[in-house]
């Protein structure tokens, strides 16, 4: 019951996007685990991060690695697949089967490339809502996700408050800071600086912008780790050598590690998708449709919420997560907050972090029992 599925949505009425364009009959690729019960009250929606996908708890078809959140999702895990019906869609704009820049535009019969409309986090959520409708779920028991996934969670809470019983936004923010945008711009520029990018038209070429995408991934990867973790893992250790080479080879272990991260990433990710999704994150401000008022944006939220941050996360630091908590407190929303101490950096939500496991399990279990 966990194989990849693809559904065509908005077949009758097109999905109108924030940019003004619309998508008709777009595809959403998704995985499900567990069974929707008769009361249809046990659905959990998992929103993936920038480079995540629908393979949340099953082996990835390209990397063959286990699902990106196998630590959290599975039998007897916090998101218990024996108990819950878990849905994890690939976002639109993505590259694992959902409609995005590398897919065929049904209207022209050609690959979208950069003709794909610029999408937003709100667009992704509107698309997810169509999937939830298609699956016959009126109220989702819990929506969760980290990083960009957390932004989708916040958007759900703001735009479809009556459809969300509970939510766990993790290591996220209500909008992208200048620093966040700067880092994404660095990534985009490295992709676009690769001559193989060719203004986004590389799908029929043998030469793809792998170098640019790889550098983008390297830059991003640094931002996912903490200084302390980098230091304790690599220090200034040399890679397979005892002295400096006086060259530009990967002398240091950290260089070699980053290069490896970059090289392996390009096998599973599309450069144009990277541009589109980082753009969506930069444009994200959950309050933008309410003149910047977070209070207005969440005034109808009735869900029970658990916000989680990590001490060493400098990309979406505790202060950004606490902003969400403050707004929810002000509105009297049933909000809990926990800051997990770890040197794992932003990536902590993807790591085997026992305190994350315990907090999610405690919250999900007790919330479902009190449903």
């Amino acid at each position: 019951m966990n194989e990849n599925k693809i559904v065509e949505l908005a077949t009758e009425q097109a999905l109108v996007l924030d940019c003004g364009k619309s998508l008709k009959s777009f595809k959403t690729a998704y995985t499900t685990y567990g069974k929707l019960n008769d009361a249809k009250d046990n659905a959990i929606l998992i929103c993936h991060a920038l480079t995540g996908d629908q393979y949340v708890a099953s082996n990835h078809p390209i990397t063959k690695k286990e699902g990106w959140w196998s630590y959290i999702v599975g039998p007897e895990k916090p998101i218990d697949t024996n108990k819950f019906f878990v849905v994890c869609p690939n976002v639109i704009g993505g590259c694992m089967g959902s409609t995005g820049p590398k897919e065929i535009n049904s209207e022209t019969g050609k690959v979208y490339g950069t003709d794909f409309p610029v999408i937003t986090i709100a667009d992704m959520v509107r698309a997810q809502k169509l999937l939830i409708d298609y699956l016959g779920i009126e109220k989702i028991f819990c929506v969760t996700g980290g990083s960009m996934g957390g932004m989708l969670v916040l958007e759900w809470l703001s735009k479809f408050p009556e459809m969300v019983h509970s939510a766990i936004p993790i290591a996220t923010a209500t909008n992208h800071s200048a620093q966040n945008i700067a880092l994404n711009e660095l990534a985009r520029q490295s992709i676009m600086a690769d001559p193989n990018w060719n203004s986004g038209n590389y799908y029929n070429s043998d030469n793809k912008p792998l170098k640019g995408l790889s550098v983008a991934r390297m830059a991003a990867h640094i931002s996912y780790l903490s200084k302390d973790a980098l230091h304790s893992k690599f220090g200034r250790n040399l890679q397979d050598k005892s002295s400096l080479d006086y060259s530009f080879d990967a002398d240091f272990q950290i260089e070699s590690y980053l290069r490896h991260q970059g090289f392996t990433f390009v096998d599973r990710f599309d450069a144009n998708s990277y541009l589109y999704i980082t753009r969506a994150m930069d444009y994200f401000d959950v309050s933008s449709s309410n003149d910047g008022s977070l209070i207005e944006s969440f005034k109808n939220t009735i869900s029970k919420v658990l916000c989680i941050s990590f001490t060493s996360d400098w990309l979406y630091p505790t202060s950004e997560n606490k902003k969400i908590v403050k707004v929810f407190n002000t509105l009297g929303i049933n909000v809990s907050f926990i800051e997990i101490e770890t040197d794992g950096g932003h990536d902590s939500f993807l790591l085997e972090e026992p305190n994350l496991f315990e907090a999610m399990q405690g919250f999900i279990k007790s919330t479902y029992e009190n449903l």
């Binding site: 029970k304 658990l306 606490k322 908590v325 403050k326 407190n329 002000t330 009297g332 049933n334 909000v335 809990s336 907050f337 926990i338 800051e339 997990i340 101490e341 305190n355 315990e358 907090a359 399990q361 405690g362 919250f363 279990k365 007790s366 919330t367 029992e369 009190n370």
Partner: protein
């Protein structure tokens, strides 16, 4: 909180709170007081707790809890968000008891405060005779390892409330298990109560 007779304390606190009130328990420990009040008075409860393991316990019980510090995180709440705030056995461990008290009566209509009374006769006598910081069942730490930064007596607390523009409405006698109107300092009360428990509110200008 394990230092005081919890059930007795809980009962008196429950008696002070009308049904269906919104309540924040600052320093809520494992959430047992909030659970008790939910059961007894069907309150809409929130917790704040500095110790992460206790936060985890609260989460597993379905209690909405913020991992936070009374000295730093009460500022994040708007005025009069709650009907009641509760601070049991925590005041003496805060960096700034005065600010914490002022914040509590700002974010809630009324606050319930309890703390160990350093003016209790046993403590006073122990100090007088032994010339050492008292260690008792209720004050079990040595002076150099205690988390308690600001011990006070019941009379000190009364003075602080006056200084901070806070009105004391009721005081509880945990010995007799009674709630009394507050009429000012009372020698017997401050001498014979190991714990001071008060219902306070902000003096409106």
């Amino acid at each position: 909180m394990s230092l005081i007779n919890e059930k007795k304390d809980f009962r008196i606190i429950a008696d002070l709170i009308p049904a269906k009130s919104s309540v924040i328990d600052v320093g809520c420990n494992d959430g047992s007081l909030l659970e008790f009040l939910k059961e007894e008075k069907d309150i809409n409860g929130r917790g704040m707790e500095i110790d992460q393991q206790k936060v985890q316990l609260c989460l597993s019980k379905g209690i909405s809890v913020i991992e936070g510090d009374a000295d730093l995180d009460l500022y994040d709440y708007p005025d009069n968000l709650f009907d009641y705030s509760i601070l049991t056995y925590t005041l003496q461990a805060t960096k700034s008891p005065k600010n914490v008290l002022s914040e509590l009566v700002r974010i809630s209509s009324k606050a319930i405060i309890s703390f160990p009374n350093f003016g209790h006769w046993k403590i006073a006598t122990s100090l007088l005779i032994n010339r050492k910081m008292p260690i008792s069942e209720k004050l079990s730490y040595s002076w150099h390892e205690t988390p308690n930064l600001h011990f006070c007596t019941i009379n000190d607390f009364i003075d602080l409330c006056e200084e901070a523009g806070i009105r004391i409405e009721k005081q509880a006698n945990l010995k007799t298990n009674k709630l009394n109107e507050f009429y000012g300092k009372n020698l017997l009360y401050s001498y014979f109560n190991e714990v001071g428990l008060f219902l306070v509110s902000k003096i409106k200008n």
